[in-house]
Symmetry: C2
Subunit: 380 residues, 2 copies
Amino acid sequence: MIYLDNAATSWPKPDGVIKAMERALLGFSSNPGRGVHKGALGAERIVSHTRELLAQLFNIQDPSRIVFAANATHALNQAIQGSLKPGDQVITTTMEHNSVWRPLKYLERKGVELKAVRCDEFGQISPAEIERNIQSNTSLIVTTHASNVTGTVQPVKEIGKIARKHGITYLLDASQTAGVLPIDVVELNVDLMAFPGHKGLLGPQGTGGLYIRAGAELEPLIQGGTGGNSELEFQPEILPGKYESGTLNTVGIAGLGAAVEYLLAQDQAEIMQKETYLCESLIKGVSEIDKVKIYGPPDRKGMAPVVSINLAGVESNEVGYILDRAFQIAVRSGLHCAPQAHATIGTSEQGTVRFSPSSFNSEQDVLSAITALKEIAREF
Amino acid sequence: MIYLDNAATSWPKPDGVIKAMERALLGFSSNPGRGVHKGALGAERIVSHTRELLAQLFNIQDPSRIVFAANATHALNQAIQGSLKPGDQVITTTMEHNSVWRPLKYLERKGVELKAVRCDEFGQISPAEIERNIQSNTSLIVTTHASNVTGTVQPVKEIGKIARKHGITYLLDASQTAGVLPIDVVELNVDLMAFPGHKGLLGPQGTGGLYIRAGAELEPLIQGGTGGNSELEFQPEILPGKYESGTLNTVGIAGLGAAVEYLLAQDQAEIMQKETYLCESLIKGVSEIDKVKIYGPPDRKGMAPVVSINLAGVESNEVGYILDRAFQIAVRSGLHCAPQAHATIGTSEQGTVRFSPSSFNSEQDVLSAITALKEIAREF
């Protein structure tokens, strides 16, 4: 099996991930902050350690401003639902994933004013367009860092600057970039940032988190036991507990820690270079196919390692199915949970065939994909 | 280390749990419902399989009525926040965990009428008291199945009958009983049931779920991508997707499946008998200590395997600390995230020292705990 679906879930994981999970499950299996015995304290240490590694990766000074979540969708819901109230305006783009779009549409029904700035055919947003739409009631700007459909990276630094200038909270959806592109929350002027653990960060499913800049205030979405301040009838104000009710996925977080440790030990520039090279090779190869349409900006510099294509007149799901069954190549096809993005690039009907390599892929993997696509194109 | 903190997190887990997690992470590492390739379909199968096993365990006819959650707290928040609106009355008890109590107090601020029926000194609730408090605007009754502080099992069948009779939704918090006591959602007339995966079900942390009876309507707490119905701008209506936005903890759910498979292969009556015996032995042994106060009902028949005690005049956390450091015995001490329950049994200041054995404990473990407590009592 050639795995080219890393934008959904990265695979394989670094060796240390399963080992760390095994250690956590077999050795420390208990609840962080829920007791004074060694097991509980061990679990607490695992969680703190992963928090510190993530803080290091994203240049977050205070690790307690990172709260763990079941996945990026939960983190995004916490950020969006926790910060918007009826009467507020929120600015977003037409390249967002349903994990941003659906909470916003839901809140629109409850009286939040939703402005989605249209991206161009390559999925690029203009920061000036965002600024032009700011009103006195704008309280949140939310954009993806890179599109999960086209890999287009947004000018987030410029958007962050605009948000800061106007005193508006900026929420970054780093679902496709955390662990893939360098992220410095200070440099980007990001107030809130949601990230999954199981994609570019190379951790297991069931992990992810939200960075909340000091001063950014959110209403907790989930209320419950937080270990500390057990006597309070309301959610305690102290982070990270305020946003981490219930028993954390200690085992998964242990795995995520091992994954981030692996990432921090790598040369990130080298990894990016390899992934870009794989994407460029793929594009170069498939460009030779007559029927191929490639989406996203022509200049792939600094893009996320995602390549979406179509064969003219062929259902993307059919291509995906044949790649899997006849060629043992795993990709993602159809609509990628981002209907607005498909509308933006004109693939609402057909969807796209999406290739997303990781640094664990070889050039041979890409060559096999090209050969397979050529054969499929010949059949239709 | 003698582990007697299974009411927080069960330990050890059956051997199959880590193996299933390893298989999921190393082999199928992808997103259920997010693609057509074999990896994605494998992940989908893992999740469906665990859903079916849980349905079998709880006598749930349609497995798709079980939705996975990060933990029982998330499931309870989904149930509570998803069903109550301003003007509704909710009836609960004074033995609830903060995972029930805090969302209710939060909603009380938003205009929900909260009635907490007082339990007796043993933590027992009277079903008649619940019925007496029903009003025309009562829309939800929520009770714990068994207290995490005293192990007291509530008359949930009677409460379920009352709720059904009055057409009121009944939410059961099975945090301390799922996998420990037999649960038949049909027999108990339960409409909603939240359960953790990492306690009595013997699965890993980061798992749990909510059973939603057909006909029970909840507003989804989290909105986002669900794999299917990707083109919709709003959350799709189909279960389980409606309540499972974002990538599930596939790896954890694989582990949970192995754990439930293990449970289903055991003689549950035999396990209960062993756990009851361990609790009774513990109570018998510590009763000989002058300074000991034991909480919960004197008749332990049908109770959850939780024993809370105190040594007169000694901080429960101090006892917990000494048990860990000097005797390598892991228990939970202090307030157990249930301030109302502590008020009910009169331990708001002192908390309790809580012993919670599982069927993996031996009689020797309990005897060691008794000996340790005797030595500690002698010191004070």
